[in-house]
Amino acid sequence: MSVIYQLDSRILEGTFEHFRDCGQGREECQVLWLSSWTRPEVITKVAHPKHAPHHGGFVLDEYWLNDFWMELGNTNAGIRFQVHTHPRAAFHSPTDDAFPIIHKPGFLSLVIPNFGLDPVGFGDAYLTEIQADGSWRQVEISSRLRLV
């Protein structure tokens, strides 16, 4: 039975603000949605990783990743979704498939089209989930996410 995560609309708005401020309609950007291990189904925070442009995409900063990993341990939080933009259509590229931040089956990756410049929401967005064999499979957004 898959978890249906609850996402506060303010976190979604904050996500799009990061995409627009950071990406400026020209570069891809990523955020991470976190929740506590005591109530994993309730997304409580959006984290904006330090990242750099990389072959048309982005790569996360090594030092930031170390600090962030420690912060997760200190705050009893876990990453439930990675969310990133694409310049045009939303899909999961081979790079997206190969280098996620979490590798556990059930981990979710949401891709937002058009650098996140469209109205805040899931229009034309693409959600995919890691399977037991490590492959990714597209899933309905409404089957994993409920906006509250």
Binding site: W37, H54, G57, Y63, M70, L72, F99, H103, K104
Partner: protein, 135 residues
């Protein structure tokens, strides 16, 4: 009178010989005791080394905000701990993308726990070596 003097001298000489013998015995005992002390000191030092640098000890590994404890041996390869951690946090498909980090430095799989400088109660990170994306 002369005989008395000779007898006293003989007795004194005998006493001297006995004293020398006693001294030699005492010196041997002292030497033995010194060796016992040195042996005991070496054992104490070894015990302290074992406490400060035990061959088997516990470390913690952190993955996605969750910490788990693992028992390691100094001579074991880091790869073994990595495999144990991946199994414990798993299932984690594509394990080749994950590494252990100490103080921000990626640990080589082929190193031993000792070579990697891993100490008792260290907190190690299990995380992907690279996180990237893009269309």
């Amino acid at each position: 009178m002369t005989e008395d003097i000779h007898r006293e001298n003989a007795e004194t000489l005998e006493d001297l010989r006995n004293a020398e013998h006693d001294l030699e015995t005492a010196l041997e005992k002292e030497h033995d005791a010194q060796r016992e002390v040195e042996k005991a000191e070496a054992e104490v030092e070894a015990a302290i080394r074992e406490i400060e640098h035990p061959r088997v000890f516990t470390v913690e590994v952190l993955y996605n905000g969750v910490k788990k404890k693992f028992e390691v041996r100094l001579e074991e390869a880091v790869k073994r701990l990595l495999e144990q951690a991946i199994a414990a946090f798993g299932p984690l498909p594509n394990p080749h993308t994950l590494s252990l980090y100490k103080n921000g430095v990626e640990l080589a799989d082929s190193q031993s726990i000792k070579e990697a400088g891993i100490k008792p109660h260290d907190l190690l990170l299990l995380r992907p070596s690279t996180v990237k994306g893009g269309a």
